[in-house]
């Protein structure tokens, strides 16, 4: 949103509509975009470039260190490899202690330290041939950065932690289901990812309601909500299409997820992004259900009917979302 109370894209559209109507000369468009706050000011450029330079720079250096560990350079002795990665962690943490975790440089250094930690754990596995599975690396990595995520109060660190938990769960259940197979069944990976991300989203919302700043930014919540929505949708589609969900438990869980999402992002608070994701999920699930129900001997007619159902659902969904967007701007 801009100072006009309108999204930037709407201000841009307004200006172009006035050009088309002949009310604004073409020559005045750059100045109009600047006055409207659509194109960035010098201060906005400075803010953006500084963040990109530090953020991308730290990411590239961390990626360089990970590549170095992966190369497993035989000419470098074992202690030299450890010294290199540990020195990177010490330098990063030293910067955080020097400038503080609330400073941009400190935040970026803490994220780099979290990435270096993964490189260190991989190096331990590589040098000592511990025989550990890949899921253990990701799980240990996630545990190791918990204190830094708490101290750093940065949404990126929490999202990194969640990504590591997702990776550990996925690799663990894809490799061997073990005791968790009773809990998650034959579609273990999808169910586990849904549970992990749903719990994470719930925790994110609860912590945001306590006013913790690292959970306040909508973009972080939207990333977690998207991961949760993808898992829920994939689970429902697989229940409908790929195997018979005899007792309908998966679809009941999906329906509960959809209702809770509606309550959370339409009634409790309006988040149009999350609602658009929910509508898309419903379209995909209705499409999958239609495909199973309507495809019979009359294949061509059935397929045409499914297409019309999807068009109807999308039209209704877009109409509803535009109405919700309209209530936001009034």
């Amino acid at each position: 949103m801009t100072s006009e109370g309108m999204p930037m894209a709407d201000l841009r559209s307004s200006i172009f509509a006035w050009v088309e109507a002949g009310a604004l000369p073409v020559a005045a468009v750059p100045e109009a975009l600047r006055v409207a706050g659509v194109t960035p000011s010098a201060a906005a450029w400075l803010h953006f470039l500084t963040r990109v330079a530090f953020g991308l720079g730290a990411l590239l250096v961390a990626a360089g260190v990970i590549h170095f560990v992966a190369f497993n350079w035989q000419a470098l002795p074992r202690w030299g490899k450890f010294a290199l990665v540990e020195a990177a962690i010490v330098v990063a943490i030293g910067i955080v202690l020097r400038v503080g975790p609330d400073n941009l440089v400190g935040r970026v250094a803490l994220i780099a330290a979290a990435l270096f930690t993964g490189a260190l754990l991989a190096l331990v596995g590589q040098v000592y041939q511990t025989g550990a599975d890949a899921w253990q690396l990701f799980a240990l990595w996630a545990v190791a950065i918990v204190p830094w995520a708490i101290a750093g109060r940065d949404p990126i660190l929490w999202l990194l932690l969640l990504a590591l938990v997702n990776a550990a769960c996925e690799i663990y259940l894809a490799t061997f289901r073990g005791a968790f197979s009773i809990l998650f069944g034959s579609r273990g990976v999808l169910r586990a990812l849904f549970v992990v991300n749903a719990v994470a989203l719930l925790a994110w919302e609860v912590l945001a309601s306590f006013g913790l700043r690292e959970f306040a930014a909508s973009w972080g919540r939207r990333v977690v909500a998207t991961a949760c929505g993808i898992a829920a949708t994939a689970l429902a589609v697989s229940a409908i299409s790929l195997y018979r969900d005899e007792n309908g438990v998966t679809l009941v869980v999906y329906a509960i997820w959809a209702l809770v999402s509606f309550w959370a992002y339409r009634i409790r608070r309006v988040d149009l992004f999350a609602l658009a994701g929910l509508v898309l999920s419903l379209i995909v699930v209705i499409g999958a259900w239609s495909a199973r129900s309507l495809l019979s001997d009359e294949r061509a007619a059935g397929l045409l009917l499914i297409a019309l159902v999807l068009i109807g659902c999308t039209t209704a969904g877009a109409w509803w979302l535009r109405r919700v967007a309209g209530t936001l701007q009034r």
Binding site: E4, M6, M8, D10, L11, R12, S13, S14, I15, F16, W18, A23, L24, V29, P30, V35, A36, T39, A43, W45, L46, H47, F48, L49, T50, A53, F54, L56, G57, L59, L60, V61, A63, G64, H67, F68, F71, N103, L104, V105, L272, A276, G277, L280, I283, A291, A300, A301, L303, A307, L308, L310, I311, T314, T315, G317, A318, L321, R322, Q329
Partner: protein, 350 residues
């Protein structure tokens, strides 16, 4: 949706407009709702094509029939949007029809080609370019522009010069977006088309990073193509930076020269990572135009190019490690220079 009276008043006080605010309507649909509409239309189109295949099998067996059917379906979609654009169901139906029509056109063109793929891809790209103009649906324009660029990329790949593509697309994107004020009268076409071009750039970067060598290993890459591609990416990045600095009137200042020197160093460091300069160009130009969603696409493109750095086989991991650390160090040095000159830069919200 009505335009903002506040914005009109602001422009009026800046002496850019005068008189009463004209009664124009704008489509205030957010990008993620448009994405939902597009995916919904795309899914419906798949079932429409399958329906035609099941009910009218001869259409799929004959190239001429597929091309003719595709053209007729696209024409019907364009007509529907022309006369009944305000009716939501018909507009969505027309979108699905148009995508299905494109599918049939692509099928028909592919059926006719047996020797070289490039002319078929270029024919399809020309058709898509025409559809960007003809079919007046913003989501469809994004889709058609995307397909047009991807088809050209496929033709270049067939000729063994695919590394040229990110640089060419970045130059095209920058040339259009940096001149969007001059093209303001055609905003209904240009705005969605540039979104499609940006999306295609990121997809091409990702495919070049992960998939092409395995997908079609029979195509032999031209030896000089990688260097020409890197040069095109550098031209896009340096040229865009100069244009943006000129827009702010600081190209010839000390700050401007420092910025250009930094970008030249970055372009040199990114020389061996295909698509990195193009992705950074997308990010900078989109930010300069005030298009946050496309800026995010540029950042995603940068992420894909990092993936390439890991998987590329022509470099050892040690060499890649060195290149990544050097590029990262250049960026951190640039950040430190900005903080030295403006100590509060990057803190808080802009």
């Amino acid at each position: 949706m009505n335009n903002s009276p506040n914005l009109w008043a602001k422009l009026e006080s800046a002496a850019l407009v005068e008189g009463e605010m004209p009664a124009t309507q704008i489509d205030a649909t957010p990008w993620y709702v448009r994405a939902m509409i597009g995916i919904g239309g795309w899914l419906a189109a798949l079932f429409l094509i399958a329906s035609i295949g099941a009910g009218l099998a001869f259409v799929m067996r004959s190239a001429a029939a597929a091309i003719a059917s595709g053209a007729v379906i696209c024409a019907v979609a364009a007509l529907l949007l022309w006369i009944k654009r305000e009716q939501a169901f018909l507009a969505q139906f027309a979108l699905a029809l148009a995508i299905a029509g494109q599918g049939l056109l692509a099928w028909g063109i592919a059926e006719r080609v047996h020797v070289s793929l490039a002319p078929a891809f270029l024919t399809f790209a020309a058709l898509e370019l025409a559809l960007v103009v003809v079919i007046a649906h913003p989501v469809h324009r994004v889709w058609s522009a995307f397909l047009c660029v991807v088809a050209i990329a496929a033709a270049l790949f067939d000729w063994g010069v695919s590394p040229l593509m990110p640089g060419i697309v970045a130059i095209a994107f920058a040339a259009i977006v940096l001149n969007e004020a001059r093209l303001a009268r055609y905003a209904a076409v240009v705005q969605p088309a540039t979104a499609g071009i940006a999306l295609a750039l990121v997809v091409i970067t990702a495919v070049l990073a992960y998939g092409v060598p395995d997908l079609l290993s029979s195509v032999r890459e031209s030896k000089g193509a990688a260097n020409v591609g890197a040069a095109l990416g550098a031209i896009a990045l340096i040229g865009s930076t100069v244009a943006l600095l000129r827009r702010h009137g600081i190209a010839a200042s000390r700050i401007g020269w420092a910025g250009i020197a930094g970008i030249v160093a970055l372009a040199a460091a990114a020389w061996r990572v295909p698509g990195l300069a193009a992705a950074i160009t997308l990010m900078l130009v989109a930010f300069g135009a005030g298009r946050p969603a496309l800026t995010g696409l540029g950042i995603a493109g940068v992420g894909f190019t990092l993936g390439f750095a890991y998987y590329a086989l022509q470099w050892t991991l040690l060499a890649k490690s060195g290149a990544l650390v050097v590029t990262g160090a250049i960026l951190i040095t640039a950040g430190l220079a900005l903080r030295w000159r403006w100590p509060a830069a990057g803190e808080g919200d802009a």
